[in-house]
Amino acid sequence: MQRVNQILRRLPVWVVYVSGVLPAPWLFYQGLTGGLGVDPIEALEHQYGELALQLLIAVLAISPLRRFFGLNLLKFRRALGVLTFTYVALHLLVWLVLDVQVPSQIWADIVKRPYVTVGMAAFVLMLPLAVTSNNFSVRKLGPRWRSLQRLVFPAAILGGLHYVMLAKGFQVEPLVYLFVIIGLLMLRVPFPSLLTRLRQADSA
């Protein structure tokens, strides 16, 4: 693992930014030229949304990977976070401009359709995270920056839920995303200390 970490340390962060952002224009080009099938609007909307969820899972996996396997990817976390937000924003933009199109319908959908409400809530929770993804904010906010960044946890659950809620019938894939997200968050709950406390309470 030591060696892997050494190699990773030499990998510049911009590589992650560039390779992460490339699928966005590529998919759009595919949509224009027929590469996304006969309903490119739906396909593009779903692809951006699914990429956002995958990147979100990558962000959430970084700290457990370090804790349990000693794999250090911390230096890429901001890049992955910013990319997640980028794809969430693109997903939203496709929905607004290409899919729903009618401004009055957009607000009606946000208020009336629970899966849209949940998705929008996740986006709103991610806004302050995106805005503070810079060294200036980290310095300025100090310890409050860390607590602010914890907004990613509820945003992740809402994001997974959003996908589950829009599926028709009983579908496995959205549930897998939600369970992976919940699982990664559970790893952060300090269960061992909870157990010790329970044991102490027992013996007392």
């Binding site: 949509g31 309903d39 490119p40 593009l44 629970p114 028709k168 019938g169 894939e173």
Partner: protein, 300 residues
């Protein structure tokens, strides 16, 4: 007796395959050089653009083969459609297994160019070939007390990867009121563009009820039952709040998760403009009478 109904969409409405492909290439080219706005204007003018063979046969909801739109075209090839028989039972004079070939030898196949509106708010125009369901039901002899018709799709885990998962309570079931089933617009489709219907579109025979959401038009039918009670239907069983027995296309009654007021026509590309959805999918003149006096927001 066929030819009881005359198309309002004619062959002139079907875009010639070559012309359609050319236009698409042109649009793609324009978009490529940054004239996407021009392309968008061109597609918006086409009020009723019929779809190509490729569009009709590559973008399908047929959950027996998976929930992705491209799953049916990928996996439906495994479905054995020869031999095929349809069991017709319940309140009929001549119940039994009807061989598909025998059915076809009795029926007059004609072309029907219909709008097709999915409950997911997309639509196509499809040139079906088929016969009126009424002719098939009359062949079996509908008995006095029959009020409804129930349909079932084949369930073959060996050939249908989707039925290995409880996406829905298999087999897929649909139903119509007898007067809806006997309506001249209601057909059993066996072909598209004059070619045998591909498996992903419901080979060898499927229902087409053009004024209802697409999921009512059940595919690859193996059983038809005449009953005196409203039969259970798959999507209604799965989510009764979202899918009613009738499921008539109705822009005023929204799906709980999305609006039904407008739809996206497949084939318009990335900048396809939404168009308003028509009452009974544009067939109100023909079918509104079936629902006279019914509150359509209650019987959705």
């Amino acid at each position: 007796m066929a030819h009881r109904w005359t198309n309002t969409l004619t062959h002139a409405d079907v875009t010639p395959r070559a012309a359609f492909l050319n236009r698409r290439q042109m649009m793609a080219g324009l978009a490529g050089v940054g004239l996407a706005g021009l392309a968008r204007g061109a597609s918006a003018q086409e009020a009723l653009e019929p779809n190509t063979w490729e569009e009709i046969t590559s973008y399908n909801n047929f959950y027996e083969f998976g929930t992705g739109k491209d799953d049916p075209v990928k996996y439906a090839g495994a479905l054995t459609t020869e031999p095929w028989s349809v069991k017709i039972d319940g309140l009929v004079d001549n119940p039994g297994e009807y061989d598909f070939k025998d059915i076809m030898s009795e029926m007059t196949v004609e072309e029907r160019i219909y709008r097709f509106r999915c409950v997911e708010a997309w639509s196509m125009v499809i040139p079906w070939n088929g016969f009126e369901l009424a002719d098939l039901l009359n062949m079996a002899g509908v008995q006095e007390g029959a009020k409804y018709v129930a349909f079932e799709t084949a369930v073959r885990p060996d050939e249908m990867p989707g039925v290995r998962y409880p996406i829905l309570d298999w087999p897929y079931r649909e139903g119509l009121r007898l007067d809806e089933a006997m309506h001249p617009l209601t057909i059993m489709a066996t072909g598209i563009y004059g070619r045998p219907i591909p498996n992903q579109n419901g080979a060898p025979l499927r229902l087409v009820v053009p004024w209802k959401y697409g999921f009512k038009s059940i595919k690859s039918i193996v059983r038809i039952t005449l009953t005196d009670v409203e039969p259970p239907t798959s999507w209604n069983m799965s989510n009764p709040r979202e899918y009613g027995f009738y499921s008539n296309v109705n822009p005023d009654v929204n799906h709980p998760r999305w609006s039904q007021a407008s739809e996206r026509q497949i084939g318009g590309g990335l900048f396809a403009k939404r168009i308003p959805t028509l009452m009974f999918n544009g067939y109100d003149k023909e079918v509104a009478g079936l629902y006279e006096g019914m509150d359509l927001s209650e019987y959705y």
